[in-house]
């Protein structure tokens, strides 16, 4: 049932952008995809969605390679939440969420499609807004609509590309909680995100990418170390562990941090390590 990403290579105009990316995610894992701008996070997200053609590798889920499926079949297994962007035409919230049913619908939507749409609207507390036009909504509400659409798609896997980057704190937290809820019900979520503290707080897994290479993989509590983060972001970063929480902040001058020139020993931690968040809940 796990999502296995195996040896993904991707070239863009002869330049290799992703190098042998491999990791797998289990149901219940909310994985933060971390790395500096231009490290290949978005490219990896697009590759997994089949939007950017890979030059090698596979993405296995339930025994099939998602990349070899037709678009429609892939859309039934993996849903995507982009950064929120304005909609050029008037569209009601209900219809925006109903779009998530398009992989299943022919020319007309079936009653089951409307039921899935309603369940998704209800889950995200959007029923009262269902007649409003999406352009009238705030950025946070619009992002909720996008998540509702992805939920309505009825997939087990959710890919999110920096969905919180344009949101204020309340909506950032709300988005993280919604996705965590999705994984607690057995879903798999991979979210490109910039806020390391949010990642540490809400995700139970993280993978870090630097220059198109996977450089760290494991629970945030284990791989979020000052050494690793400083190296990945090429910038001195201080990490403190306390009260079961990991806190990340840029290091100030009185607090010398050595940015290592070599990768720390726990690079690309092997699978099967204890996962604190899952254990804490169990």
């Amino acid at each position: 049932m796990s999502l296995e990403i195996r040896n993904i290579d991707l070239h863009y105009r002869k330049r290799q952008v992703l190098h042998q990316i491999s990791f797998h995610l289990e149901p219940g894992e909310f994985c933060a995809l971390l790395g500096p701008n231009g490290s290949g996070k978005s490219t990896l997200t697009k590759a997994l969605l089949g939007l950017a053609p890979v030059s090698g590798g596979s993405v296995l889920f339930e025994g099939v390679d998602l990349l070899s499926l037709s678009r429609v079949e892939r859309a039934k297994r993996i849903a995507y939440v982009p950064q929120s962007s304005p909609v050029p035409f008037d569209l009601r919230v209900y219809d925006a969420v109903l779009l998530g049913r398009s992989p299943y619908a022919g020319v007309r939507y079936a009653p089951a499609d409307h039921q899935a749409t309603l369940r998704s609207l209800e889950k995200l507390g959007l029923l009262e807004l269902s007649d409003r036009y999406v352009n009238e909504l705030s950025g946070g509400q619009l992002q909720r609509v996008q998540i509702a659409r992805a939920f309505a798609q009825g997939t087990r896997i959710l890919l999110l590309d920096e969905p919180t980057s344009a949101l204020d704190l309340r909506y950032q937290v709300e988005t993280m909680r919604l996705v965590r809820e999705f994984t607690r019900e057995g879903g798999i979520a991979l979210m490109a995100v910039h806020d390391l503290n949010h990642a540490a707080r809400y995700c139970n897994r993280s993978v870090m990418i630097s220059d198109g290479h996977l450089v760290a993989d494991g629970a945030p509590g284990e791989v979020f170390t000052s050494q690793t983060l400083s190296r990945v972001f090429d910038f001195p970063i201080d990490v403190s562990h306390g009260d079961g929480l990991v806190t990340v902040r840029p290091a100030e001058s009185d607090h010398e941090i050595h940015v290592p020139s070599e990768w720390p020993a726990h690079r690309a931690a092997p699978r099967g390590q204890p996962n604190r968040f899952v254990e804490a809940r169990a």
């Binding site: 697009k46 969605l49 089949g50 939007l51 037709s70 678009r71 429609v72 079949e73 892939r74 859309a75 039934k76 993996i78 849903a79 995507y80 982009p82 962007s85 304005p86 909609v87 050029p88 035409f89 008037d90 569209l91 009601r92 209900y94 219809d95 925006a96 779009l99 998530g100 398009s102 992989p103 619908a105 020319v107 409307h114 309603l118 609207l121 209800e122 029923l127 009262e128 269902s130 007649d131 352009n135 009238e136 996008q146 659409r149 798609q153 890919l159």
Partner: protein, 359 residues
């Protein structure tokens, strides 16, 4: 608690169902309005006729038979002048408006129309070239104008689409290429006018006004067949166009839509249909732009309703403009292209200004 949740969901379902019923009623009403205008426009003119005259004419067309000399004259006017003209206006408007609705959705830009790709200046150049060449060869220009116009407008669209596809159909690239091609063909037409004599210049000008004065049954049949062939395909793809228009390229792809094929195939059909229209009636602007906007105001942006309704509004708009053009200054007939621009441009300005959000 469970009851309250159920009620909220039920209300959402009920509202959605009511909206769909209302949309269906609106479409039925507007089709009825178009039918009424069609009959009115067929009967009214420099000389007006009665419904009975039209009935007699149609009966003769369908079942044959002899008519009195006066009745035969009336029947001829109705069958060979009025009806083809009225139907040509409707089908032209419907095709341009359907093409406009599709292009706006596919390019995610409410300001584009079939002419965005530079199709109409290209057609204008084709027509001007045919007029000049046939004049110097001493032959009748008629059929060559249409052929040359459609050739150049298709050529222009293919060049724009081909070049844009090397940039993965980027929308900004597409619109800029259209602008560039517009400049080229406008300059070429101006060059032709510079070397043409007065007679040819007048002919070129008449063509660029856009008019259904020269309507023929053959034109009507070609456009009707085109509509019957392409409209169902547009309807079939309306759901995919929704995904693309509302959610953007990447999300539409993640919803299972083959965005490249969808965009290229529908835009190709849209420009082919528009080129046909332009080659028959000349350049008629604004229908492809305003028709979809009026439709959107009434039934909303869901392309499953927008596509059929755009055909109704486009046909209605062009027929209304032609009817006005015939009735305002009788016996003069103001070309439909002029009337539609005079009516359409202010309407378009109003639509832009009333938008809640910047376009």
């Amino acid at each position: 608690m469970a009851l309250a949740e159920l009620t909220a969901a039920d209300l959402a379902v009920a509202r959605n169902a009511r909206r769909q019923q209302w949309t269906t009623v609106l479409i039925a009403l507007s089709v009825a309005a178009l039918a009424l205008l069609t009959v009115y426009s067929t009967l009214k003119g420099t000389t007006s006729y009665s419904l009975a005259d039209l009935g007699t004419a149609l009966h003769q067309a369908a079942f044959g038979g002899e008519l009195a000399r006066d009745d035969q004259r009336v029947a001829n006017v109705l069958l060979h002048l009025r009806l083809p003209r009225v139907l040509l206006a409707i089908f032209s408007g419907a095709l341009l408006s359907l093409a406009g609705a599709a292009m706006q959705g596919l390019l995610r830009n409410p300001l584009v129309s079939p002419y965005t790709l530079g199709l109409s200046p290209a057609a204008g150049f084709g027509a001007a070239l045919a007029i000049l060449l046939s004049q110097s060869a001493g032959t009748a220009a008629g059929p060559y104008i249409s052929l040359s116009a459609i050739f150049f407008s298709l050529l222009c669209s293919l060049v724009v689409l081909g070049l844009a596809s090397t940039k993965s159909m980027n929308i900004t690239v597409l619109i800029l290429l259209g602008t560039a091609l517009t400049s080229i063909f406008t300059a070429l037409t101006a060059g032709l006018q510079y070397i043409a004599n007065d007679e040819a210049i007048a002919a070129i000008a008449r063509w660029t006004f856009g008019s259904v004065n020269e309507a023929r049954w053959s034109h009507v049949v070609v456009l009707l067949v085109t509509l019957v062939v392409i409209a169902p395909y547009f309807m079939l793809r309306a759901g995919a166009v929704n995904s693309l228009a509302f959610a953007g390229d990447d999300t539409a792809k993640s919803l299972g839509v083959n965005v490249g094929v969808l965009r290229v195939s529908l835009i190709f059909l849209a420009v082919t249909g528009s080129s046909l229209v332009v080659s028959f009636i000349g350049v008629v602007g604004f229908v492809g732009l305003v028709g979809p906007h009026i439709a959107r105001l009434i039934v909303g942006s869901d392309h499953r309703y927008l596509f059929p309704f755009s055909m109704v509004t486009g046909g209605f708009l062009l027929l209304l403009a032609d009817t006005l053009g015939r009735l305002v200054l009788p016996p003069r007939v103001i070309p439909v292209g002029i009337v539609v621009a005079l009516v359409g441009a202010p309407l378009f300005i109003y639509l832009i200004l009333r938008k809640r959000n910047a376009l």
